[in-house]
């Protein structure tokens, strides 16, 4: 009788351990609304790559802009999120949330758009005009100023205002603004709607510039490194999938944005999907954010070492 009890208890312990191992690990994910830069996340969800890695991804938030997503990180509502380098680095530097950037989500994929019939032909012609950006300290804010400086212009000569990207196309059409800079698919949508044309695309401003990253809540990273690694494996697999299955990637882009095929196809053609960020590129961002006064009193090298942690992604890639 005693042996049966012991055997039954051991079996129970074994079964419950197996269940614990087999039960999917939860990840609360956030990304930006209609931001095709985050296609890898959507591909991984659609194709079941996260499930294959044994993680259960719950969409904990879809945000209109990076700073909103950082507020979600600050209130500990997200474990992992896709968002721009600029808002995530700004948030860490200004102490609003403790996150780590563990992989790149995309490079390039933004553009400055003017009205189709506009007389603006070069960046220099933006002097005295009104240009909309999605928000201060966004990647696009940074790119616009970089483009203006490269053209030898003082950014103060341009009236830079903040607008939500979905409203930019209407504002451009209605002559409220003379130009806007936004992430794909908004520039492509302006083109396919026949309202705008690209003045300058972001690779022309800064070739290969990093754009969005995969950010992890620092405590989640410390406590669940295996889950983060599994997530990144799915992320890498999604990137490969996009490269090898462009048509299906477009289908998934349409599914998650609700936009038409022509726009999504055009938009994806302007985005680079790869997962390695270069430390020097991130340093350039951070130096610029310092210069603009959005972040203060940090030492760039030390900060970037704290912000960027590519150990896992390097491991996975080899």
């Amino acid at each position: 009788m005693k042996r049966t009890t012991v055997a039954a208890s051991l079996l129970a312990v074994l079964l419950s351990t197996l269940v614990c191992i087999a039960a999917p690990r939860e990840v609360r994910l956030g990304y930006l609304r209609n931001d095709l830069h985050h296609l890898a996340a959507w591909v991984a969800m659609d194709r079941g790559f996260f499930r294959d890695e044994g993680i259960n991804v719950e969409i904990a938030g879809i945000f209109n802009a990076g700073p909103e997503e950082m507020a979600a990180f600050a209130s500990r509502s997200l474990d992992i999120g896709y968002l721009g380098v600029a808002p995530s680095a700004t948030g860490l530097a200004n102490g609003s949330a403790r996150i780590r950037a563990v992989a790149l989500a995309n490079a390039e994929g933004s553009a400055v758009v003017v009205r189709k019939d506009s007389t603006i032909r070069a960046v220099r012609d933006l002097a005295g005009k009104t240009v909309a950006i999605p928000g201060y300290s966004s990647v696009q804010d940074f790119l616009l100023r970089k483009a203006l400086e490269a053209a030898g212009m003082d950014p103060r000569k341009v009236n830079i205002i903040v607008m939500k990207p979905p409203e930019m196309i209407v504002a451009l059409d209605g002559k409220q603004i003379d130009a806007f800079i936004a992430w794909e698919p908004h520039p492509s949508k302006a083109v396919t709607m026949g309202i705008g044309r690209t003045l300058i695309s972001s690779p022309a401003i800064w070739k290969g510039h990093p754009c969005c990253v995969v950010a992890v809540d620092e405590q989640f990273y410390r406590v669940n490194p295996q889950v983060v690694k599994s997530f990144l494996r799915a992320h890498v697999r999604a990137m490969e999938y996009i490269r090898q299955n462009p048509e299906d990637a477009i289908r998934i882009g349409i599914k998650f944005t609700g936009m038409d095929g022509a726009t999504v196809r055009e938009a994806i053609s302007h985005i680079q999907y790869h997962y390695f960020a270069r430390e020097d590129d991130i340093k350039e961002y951070v130096t610029y954010l310092l210069k603009l006064g959005y972040i203060k009193s940090i030492i760039v090298d030390g900060f970037v070492r704290e912000y960027l942690d590519l150990k896992m992604i390097k491991d996975i890639a080899h």
Partner: protein, 248 residues
């Protein structure tokens, strides 16, 4: 002595922040908020856009919207107060539009007026119009009917009736309406500016920028500035009220 409770709260708050009980990234300490405020003063937000400019931008929009509200609601209110027919026919319109929050009008305002000062002034106008209108009507209705009847019997022209009897008689109520309108207008303004401001100046816009660069200390400093200006405007109206209604 009056300010002792407020002072104590601030001190306790600072102590709790210093000890880490209140996390600094969710609620900055009073000292950090003050430092954020000095940065707003010295450097501006975004850097280069000074605080004075933001205050001026917002005040312009609010005073514009509330001004138009007063100029339109006053005569309409007196007419509706005096003529019951006018009240009967116009009330349905008033009661249908009044419950709609001014902020719900923002997308329409932008469609009609674009993203400049006019759309935010329009939203403020909508918020300010109804308190002035309703208080004017109530003020006229509260005038002793005998006074009105006597004026008519004694041969007062419509102009004299409106200008020398109805308007002064309704004035206490009208001023209350203006105070409420200014308060609502000031509150609505900040949210209206969240949607975008062409000139780059405005207190709501400034708070939105603080949110963008993730500085909750400056968000709260901005909120405090908005509160102080709102209080100052109300104080100003109360002084004016005492002057205008000296006869009371």
């Amino acid at each position: 002595m009056r300010y002792l409770p407020v002072f104590s709260v601030v001190v306790i708050w600072q102590v709790l922040s210093l000890s880490g009980v209140i996390p600094g990234n969710r609620l900055p300490s009073p000292v950090n908020i003050f430092l954020g405020f000095t940065e707003l003063l010295t450097q501006g937000l975004p850097p280069g856009y000074g605080l004075a400019g933001h205050c001026a931008g917002s005040l312009k929009r609010v005073l514009g919207g509330v001004g138009v509200a007063i100029v339109t609601a006053l005569p309409l209110g007196i007419a509706m107060g005096y003529w019951s027919r006018a009240r009967e026919y116009l009330n349905p319109f008033v009661e249908m539009v009044r419950p709609v929050p001014p902020l719900a009008w923002v997308p329409i305002a932008i469609l009609w007026f674009g993203i400049g000062d006019r759309s935010s002034s329009f939203v403020i106008f909508l918020g300010a119009f109804f308190p002035v209108l309703l208080n004017t009507i109530a003020g006229v209705l509260s005038i002793n009917r005998r006074l009105i009847e006597s004026s008519i019997i004694l041969g007062a022209s419509k102009k004299a009736l409106f200008g020398k009897v109805l308007l002064p008689g309704a004035m206490p109520s009208i001023i209350t309406g203006v105070r409420i309108a200014l308060g609502i207008g000031w509150m609505t303004l900040v949210a209206a500016e969240f949607t975008g401001v062409k000139s780059g100046y405005g207190l709501g816009y400034m708070i939105m920028t603080a949110r963008d660069i993730q500085r909750p200390d400056q968000i709260i400093a901005g909120m405090a500035i908005i509160g102080i200006i709102g209080y100052a405007m109300d104080f100003g109206i109360r002084i004016m009220e005492n002057k205008i209604l000296k006869w009371r």
